[in-house]
């Protein structure tokens, strides 16, 4: 841990961020560093494991592997932090269960002992947005704002597991109409536009995407239609799986539901730290916003150029 930083976290990467949307990883690392928060690696961390998938197959496996992941952060002595709602769901729910059930914790530790690890449970797992809003606070973020985007209309998508189950989340039980992500977005001068069923799920979670892609895409279709209806320029979110579903899923919606959606969708999907970073005046290369490769079939699947165009005057 370095004394140059005010905050220290153990960056729990999960799967989708590092392995499919590395621009999100780059932007979280850069923005947190910029804000005075140190992001330490959690060497050898695995899949969280995904709360609607692997927990749905076998709860004990889910709990033990989650406890192992948290124990890596404990070894370093920092709170684990994730930029993914799914990982947040797992780490937080597992932590909550183990905090409240002593017998369960004992059992989990018997398994972990086999690989020479222990789970203590003294460090609360956090979400990137939770750190921004509750640890650092809006006032701290405000100090860093260099540019504002008054022309930008944003559809904010929360996703599910950042707010629910609300009894295991830090938002004072609010799950119907949370505001924290909108408040962060509004720091950038952009307008967070209201849209129908704003808090609805993207459709990817709970193993649905792997089960029946068309069903997941139909959730997404409904969201996208509601977002287009209010003329939002971009979607801001705080979860790589929602991000994938809204980005790659947008292509799928355009294919599966061409006959009912009218014009194909092409709404740029941007992660919250990418937006914040530009408002802070940071180099867009550090935020994963500039394409530096000739690869095909990689993310983002929907061009973010319309977004870069709107903010081009502020780009370095």
């Amino acid at each position: 841990m370095s004394e140059d930083y005010k905050w220290h976290y153990g960056f729990f990467l999960g799967c989708v961020i590092p392995n499919r949307y590395p621009m999100i990883e780059a932007s979280i690392r850069s923005v947190f560093d910029h804000l005075g928060a140190e992001m330490l690696d959690l060497p050898g961390a695995s899949c969280c494991p995904a709360p609607g998938v692997f927990r749905a197959f076998h709860i004990p496996t889910w709990l033990v592997i989650a406890a192992r992941n948290i124990s890596i952060a404990e070894e370093i002595g920092v709170n684990p932090i994730t930029g993914c709602n799914g990982c947040y769901g797992t780490l937080r729910d597992a932590w909550y269960e183990l905090e409240h059930e002593y017998e369960l914790k004992k059992e989990v530790n018997e398994y972990l002992a086999k690989i020479g690890r222990t789970y203590k449970g003294n460090l609360e797992p956090k979400h990137v947005v939770q750190a921004l809003y509750l640890d650092m606070g809006l006032d701290h973020l405000k100090d860093y704002i260099k540019f504002t985007f008054s022309d930008l209309k944003i559809a904010v998508h929360y996703g599910c597991h950042i707010v629910k189950p609300s009894d295991k989340r830090p938002w004072d039980g609010e799950y119907e109409v949370p505001r924290f992500l909108d408040e962060i977005v509004e720091l950038t001068g952009a307008k967070s536009v209201d849209y129908k069923d704003k808090y609805m799920c993207c459709g990817a979670g709970g193993a649905v995407r792997t089960a029946v892609k068309e069903v997941a895409a139909d959730f997404t279709r409904e969201k996208l239609m509601n977002i287009r209806e209010v003329g939002a320029d971009i979607i801001i979110n705080c979860c790589p799986f929602c991000h994938l579903q809204l980005d790659l899923g947008q292509v799928e919606v355009n294919n599966f539901y061409a006959d009912i959606i009218g014009e194909p969708f092409n709404i740029p999907v941007i992660y919250i730290t990418q937006l914040l970073g530009v408002a802070f005046g940071m180099d867009p290369n550090l935020l994963g916003l500039i394409k530096n490769h000739e690869l095909t079939g990689v993310s983002p699947f929907i061009s973010i150029d319309p977004f870069l165009n709107i903010i081009k005057n502020q780009l370095i």
């Binding site: 590092p18 780059a26 998938v53 692997f54 197959f57 192992r68 089960a211 069903v215 409904e222 690869l295």
Partner: protein, 200 residues
């Protein structure tokens, strides 16, 4: 849960089902759903039920009456775990968690989709990631990482082979491997029986 209550649930609620499945429902803590008043708030809140035949209330009802069919059809796998039903149930039933428990029992009975099986057995167990970046097919993702100034593989299990072994050891100890092998066996037996049925 006292011995008496357990008996009551099995006698009154799971009367008509095989005692093996009934016992599984009880063991999984599904007795909480006895508080269900069939109000339909869960179904009314469900974004999945708006576009599929999945009805949360009906799944809960079927579990409550020990109806094994709830384990077999795809319905419970169409829940996106959005937790609206969990939040809004007026009887405080942790509905989403109950669906997850039903899925656990379904997998135990060999009712797991092929795509989920591959994800669990061939990807998660083998690599420690649910969405990996290793292997020839995934080279583009490693290249993409590098294009953003990141190392080709993240500092996760991907960079620490002994960590994959740790995870596998845990998964073996806690019964995941056995569960998957058993599910594969049951699936195969069922497929064979179905094929035979068709031929006859």
């Amino acid at each position: 849960m006292s011995e008496n209550v357990n008996k009551y649930i099995k006698r009154k609620v799971y009367k008509k089902t095989s005692s093996r499945i009934a016992q599984k429902f009880v063991d999984a803590g599904l007795q909480e759903i006895r508080a269900c008043i069939n109000c339909g708030t869960c179904t009314g809140s469900c974004p999945s039920g708006r576009r599929t035949a999945y009805r949360t209330r009906s799944a809960i009802r079927r579990a409550l009456t020990g109806d094994e069919s709830v384990l077999k059809d795809i319905d419970i796998w169409l829940c996106s775990t959005c937790y609206y039903c969990y939040e809004r149930c007026p009887r405080n039933i942790p509905v989403t968690d109950m669906i997850i428990k039903l899925r656990n029992i379904a997998v135990e009975e060999g009712y797991i989709l092929d795509s989920h099986f591959v994800l669990a057995n061939n990807i998660f167990y083998a690599t420690g990631h649910g969405v990996p970046a290793t292997g020839e097919n995934n080279k583009k993702w490693r290249d993409l990482r590098e294009s953003y100034g990141l190392p080709p593989l993240p500092p996760t299990v991907h960079s620490y082979p002994e960590a994959v072994k740790e995870c596998q050891e845990l998964m073996k100890a806690v019964g995941f491997k056995k569960l998957m092998d058993n599910a594969a066996k049951l699936k195969e037996e069922r497929a064979k029986a179905e094929k035979k049925d068709k031929e006859e």
